[in-house]
Point group: C2
Chain length 592, copies 2
């Protein structure tokens, strides 16, 4: 081994010992005739001092520059009292350099590692191997490794078998867009990269594996938003002979243990909240319970008002009118309200009505609002009582299709909560349960809210008779307003699976063609089973406090799904395309 210690491991206990360090020159400075090098490795920094007495070594130290790779042997000594650095793990000591070997030189890096805040992300991604040297970047990926290690240990100890499922799978026309891989041996045919190992893990249950897990790469060829990547990682879990309470208990314990081990955080209880309640109180199926604001339905008080903006949605079965009280915010300036009005516009809201409650005792006079004149005072009082408004509060209103009101006030709730620093705690985990089986499309057809393999809480006959209102046996774990994971009890009965397919408009022939192997599996002795998948990238993002998913992936893609470092994707020659039985459209044919 070239080194005896990592830089970050040095401390007072090594005083007087000779150590050998290997790493990068993080900073170099001359001061009072001696040279100081801060040497950096994975575990931290150490200060090495070279004095002119050792002529040859001093001359070498004088020639090194930032990011040179060096091997240094020297003696650990305590720093003088005034020179200690509490911000450095090894800040109480320094190393008196005896020998220095330059293992590799470095040109001046494209951006400095310690003051790079104005460096564009494209440059950082292009030189990712330099960006990852920054201790804060490396720390995120180290924590990621600790997280997966903790999860694996828990699952191993609890009898889960790590099984790999294929990356080259069958295209699935439903859902998100697949990444496709042309087959060389089956002309005109394509593999798809998996969006999840869903059916394979169910087949493993049919095969009797009982408890499965995999930290699995999944793929979606979709336009990327800030927190999406074309390839992402799932902690994928499936079990047999357990019901939803068992699965919730096992996976909740896993997450509790993870947070305890890695962040020393102990969670309170995880409330269980039905989907319907989450939408009603928080406008979201992944409520951020750190924020103590709630949506309150007030349509019943506004059905008769002349103000159509309210009475329209109040009388529409698909409409919603809801109020959101923000305590102590009546002094909010008009410009802030305008900003929030713009903000809810992103979610389709056409405006943002509000009432500032200055002095309730004065009745309408004590309220400041463009809308109070439209609402009879009696109704107004019911509304203000219902939301619990007291002097100094502001109450926002949303009135529109239910979806718009939920999305807009749900998002506003989060934004206001952060802006006004209303968060009541650091971590708010929960379970959302009792999801509907289906969502209705604009044309009246139904789509699975989770996926078509989710079991309903009813018989096949009840399901087919009136599918729209039926609940599923699905559950999502939510943390701080982010869906960490979701799962369900799956259908293990062939008749039930076929009933769901029929509700989704998939006829017998299509069932056989696309899901024949699943129906086969269900008829040869499928056990009751269910599971869950956690999004690892988001989990790591939350646990590291990263601002973007790209910060917790070693080599992420850009928003256009490319890699600016290796220049992927790239071109290929005509021979390769011919072997795959494809050709390019348009001008790109030149390569052929």
């Amino acid at each position: 081994m070239m080194r005896s210690h990592y830089c970050g491991q040095l401390n007072e206990s090594l005083d007087g010992q000779v150590v050998t360090l290997c790493g990068w020159v993080h900073r170099r400075r001359d001061h009072g005739g001696v040279i100081f090098l801060d040497v950096r490795d994975r575990e931290g920094l150490a200060q090495v001092v070279f004095d002119p007495d050792r002529v040859e070594t001093f001359a070498k130290a004088d020639r090194v520059r930032s990011e040179y790779v060096v091997k240094i042997t020297g003696k650990v000594r305590l720093r003088p009292e005034g020179a200690r650095n509490a911000n450095m793990a090894s800040g109480a000591i320094e190393v008196l350099g005896h020998e220095l070997e330059v293992l590799n030189q470095a040109e001046t890096p494209p951006f400095p590692l310690d003051e790079y805040s104005d460096v564009g992300e494209e440059t950082r991604l292009r030189y990712r191997f330099i960006d990852l040297r920054r201790p804060e970047m490396a720390a995120k990926l180290k924590l990621r490794a600790r997280i997966t290690s903790s999860i694996r240990r828990y699952l191993d100890e609890n009898g889960f078998l790590d099984v790999e499922t294929p990356i080259l799978g069958r295209p699935t026309p439903e859902g998100a867009r697949d990444y496709l891989v042309p087959s060389r041996t089956y002309p005109g045919h394509f593999f798809a990269l998996p969006q999840s190992p869903q059916l394979f893990k169910q087949l493993l249950m049919v095969a009797g594996f009982d408890r499965y897990y995999q930290i699995a790469k999944c793929f979606r060829d979709e336009d990327l938003r800030a927190d999406r990547q074309p390839e992402f990682t799932q902690i994928d879990i499936e079990t047999s002979f357990l019901d939803e309470d068992d699965i919730i208990a096992i996976t909740e314990k896993m997450v509790r243990q993870l947070f305890k081990e890695v962040l020393n955080v102990e969670f309170d209880e995880f409330p269980h909240m039905p989907f319907e309640e989450a939408m009603r109180r928080y406008g979201s199926d992944k409520p951020d319970l750190r924020i103590p604001l709630e949506l309150v339905d007030v349509a019943d008080q506004l059905k008769e008002v002349e103000f159509k903006v309210f009475s329209g949605p109040a009388n529409d079965p698909k409409g919603r009118v809801a109020a959101l009280r923000v305590p102590g915010a009546a002094s909010m300036p008009r410009s802030q309200i305008d900003d929030y009005t713009k903000f809810v516009g992103i979610y389709g809201a056409k405006g943002l009505a509000y009432i500032k409650v200055n002095e309730r005792a004065k009745g309408v006079e004590g309220l400041q609002s463009p809308i109070v004149k439209f609402i009879p005072e009696a109704n107004l009082n019911v509304i203000l009582d219902r939301v619990g408004a007291v002097d100094g509060d502001i109450v926002f209103f949303g009135a529109d299709k239910a979806k718009v009101v939920c999305d807009a006030l749900g998002a506003l709730r989060i934004k206001v909560g952060h802006d006004l620093k209303l968060l009541t705690k650091e971590w708010a985990p929960m379970w959302v349960v009792d999801f509907p089986m289906f969502e209705e499309n604009d044309d009246g057809s139904l789509t699975s809210l989770h996926h078509p393999f989710t079991a309903p809480k009813c018989t096949p006959e009840e399901l087919e008779a009136n599918p729209a209102g039926k609940l599923s046996r699905a559950y999502d774990m939510v943390l701080n307003g982010t869906e960490l994971g979701g799962g369900s009890i799956r259908i293990h009965d062939k008749a039930m699976q076929q009933a769901v397919f029929r509700v989704l408009g998939i006829d017998d022939a299509e069932q056989e063609e696309k899901f024949g192997f699943l129906l086969d599996a269900l008829k040869y002795g499928a056990p009751p089973h269910g599971g869950l998948a956690f999004g690892l990238d988001r989990l790591v993002m939350l646990m590291t406090g990263a601002a973007s998913i790209r910060e917790v992936i070693a080599f992420p893609k850009t928003q256009s799904a490319g890699d600016v470092m290796t220049q992927a994707p790239g071109t290929v020659d005509g021979k390769a395309l011919r072997e795959l039985h494809i050709r390019l459209r348009e001008q790109q044919k030149a390569a052929e």
Copy 2:
């Protein structure tokens, strides 16, 4: 939890306890008016007895069939002395069934689970979810999970960070054929699935990660041989500031610990053998040291003989003449020798000369051979002495281009060793070292024996002056004649990397175009680094004694790289192809 115990966990200590089992009906039989069900779950079998006293439960038990999924509650009792089954973990007890619930029915499976030896592999793959129920199949995948878990634990404990590298990468025109993924956002461009994470792991070293590992999926679109799959799994390791001895020590310790933990096998020392010696003594760079036969060079004795089959190769600088003594096999029948002659023909050998040593004391008279007449007796004696031939032995000869002789006699050595049961031990691990940097192609150009990032044991100037003979800093771990893993110290110096590229005929422009990011990485402070990759599938194959790599992969592909269960690859619609800027060649265009 539905079950209280796994079937395989039941034993005498539970005598008298009420237990609940969940699993599959493995076997059902009526005997003496009672019904016996062998119930199977992941951990094993348990015998459940139903007697007619419990009328309703007995009637249910009477209706169940093989592979029904059942939940049974009953009382554990000791079996009568004569009825114990030593082949079953729970064979000392049985369960008296009190209640039986059918959780799912099963049609008669396409093949029986206990006597399926004549079932074709295609049927087994089509119904993989049934085939995997067989305890011997499930055992292999369980062992696979234990193996990866043991390896991860070792690497975690030794400071290796598990880091994920991209699956969507840049095409590499060199080496094996890539699986390609058309990009939607970059028309005419393609991602490639990685053949290994080689360059990414090197970049992680440049980023200062110091110790990296990943159990990584890799892909090659090659025609499949018996032990190849389009997607395979690598235990991928890279370290900084360690030399080859350190890396060999760390990874050898990992494999030792793995075999100890999982198979309770303790290895002897791992001999280190230079590539040249391995080829000379065993005709292979992955010698199976369990077999005590060796190739012995005898060209010097045959340069002058008139028999051109020998004298030709003996005088050809690229030729080789070698002998392989098989002790005590002189009685081998002619038909066996004919079979071996055919066998070496697979490797290009045009024949298989031999000498049966019946009675050396009688001189040529005591030898039985078609070739002795061509060889002067003095030379013959030198040869027989050199190979150590004694009465009762047979000596085979190979004479051809060196490659043909090595391949043919190397393979024959293994085959004869197995046929004649000459193996001296169960496990023979070793390291092969001192590989050449390059192999020569027929046109005189050079190809990297490992890959172009492997460091040589010389300076850039020495390398460019005379590349053909130079050795690399590569090392392979070999077990029982299988290459378990291979690695090397990598080039961390830009000038050296460019020298290697030039030797391989990659000019400056092509270097920049294909490997610009690597050359960038090398110029901004790359540390000395090296690593290794183990083939997980082969490792599991060896440790489970599986006959094929398909036995240790949950959902393998067929030899034509398809999945007969899910029918992958499949067709996709014209819209999907248009979005990817490609079209099909030939008739397959119909779909558009």
